[in-house]
Symmetry: C2
Subunit: 199 residues, 2 copies
């Protein structure tokens, strides 16, 4: 049994990570989603224990103290973190696992799990990124300006990822991510595939 | 413009390289096929200048002397070679190029072009490999025994390739190879993709 993939999907705020990951999961039932924890307020339609674990600041900091996170970061005043859970055990059992995290979190996971597939989701252009964040309708003008201001810096971080996927349409982005998963299995499972034929 | 991929599809004799490459090319019009040269006899339906350049031994050896091959090998008494042609110039212009070669040839190309995508096409089982070679109907019992005898050794060589793709069905094998191409573009074109968005 080959080790499962750790697929880390990340990108600047507003690039559409959540929509792409939801579509990827619906098309790929064998993929397990690692639910992040956050102290930010739920957006419309977001469900605790499904989209995120919504925690109080106190509960989050207690979990930090107990070493309960693979990584965590404070982004624009809110905590975001990846609960360690049983990520490595599940991968050893052959399970592919999906993480959706911000760029700061991804850089931390790169250090802890260098065998992850780090996929940077790129908006097709900066004006389109602004349009998407405005369309979400959850930002004040101040937080919008702050997010756009840091987008260029965040996009530069994409150079340190393994893969860059343009999110021009959700369909195309999901297709590319699925291709990356297939290709990585052809790469990483090669010894196992050969052993099976020679047995 | 990112450099085009050099896709090297290889595997043991009888594993179905020719059929898979033909289907891949028909589904991927933007992929250019690098036609090999050989001194073996054409099989039914094979066309000179399309499937292979069929050369005499003398013509092949003259081309060796002129440094005209990326690699060449003598397999079961016949020469097979990859004409240098304009492979590198075409890749620099962004063209993806497909090579279909035997395992001996692929090992030589690995040394000359370490940035190639080396895809080992694996039969689903050894009995199935024998069935396929028999089905081709072009082998004597002697050459069949020789090919099967070397198949296990050839399959071991697959461990040194970048990717292993099982040729269980042509459709599935082609789908996996196309996924590898998409994924490698997401990997290798990442700087270009980021530059375009930041421009």
């Amino acid at each position: 049994m080959s080790k499962g993939l750790l697929i880390v999907i990340s990108g600047p705020s507003g690039t559409g990570k959540g929509t792409v990951c939801a579509e990827l999961l619906s098309q790929t039932p064998e993929l397990a989603y690692s639910i992040s924890a956050t102290t930010r307020q739920p957006r419309d339609g977001e469900v605790d224990g499904k989209n995120y674990y919504f925690l109080t600041k106190e509960a989050f900091e207690k979990m930090i103290g107990e070493g309960g996170f693979l990584e965590y970061a404070n982004v624009y005043g809110n905590y975001y973190g990846t609960p360690l859970g049983k990520i490595e055990e599940r991968r050893e059992a052959g399970q592919d696992i999906l993480l959706e995290i911000d760029t700061q979190g991804a850089l931390n996971v790169m250090k802890r799990c260098p065998d992850g597939l780090f996929i940077f989701l790129l908006p097709p252009s900066l004006p389109e990124l602004e349009r998407r964040i405005r369309g979400r309708g959850t930002e004040t003008e101040e937080s919008l300006a702050r997010r756009l201001g840091s987008a260029k810096k965040e996009i530069e971080i994409g150079r340190s990822y393994t893969f860059v996927v343009i999110n021009d349409t959700v369909r195309q982005a999901v297709k590319r991510i699925k291709a990356i998963m297939v290709a990585e299995h052809c790469r990483r499972d090669k010894e196992e595939l050969i052993d099976e034929v020679l047995e």
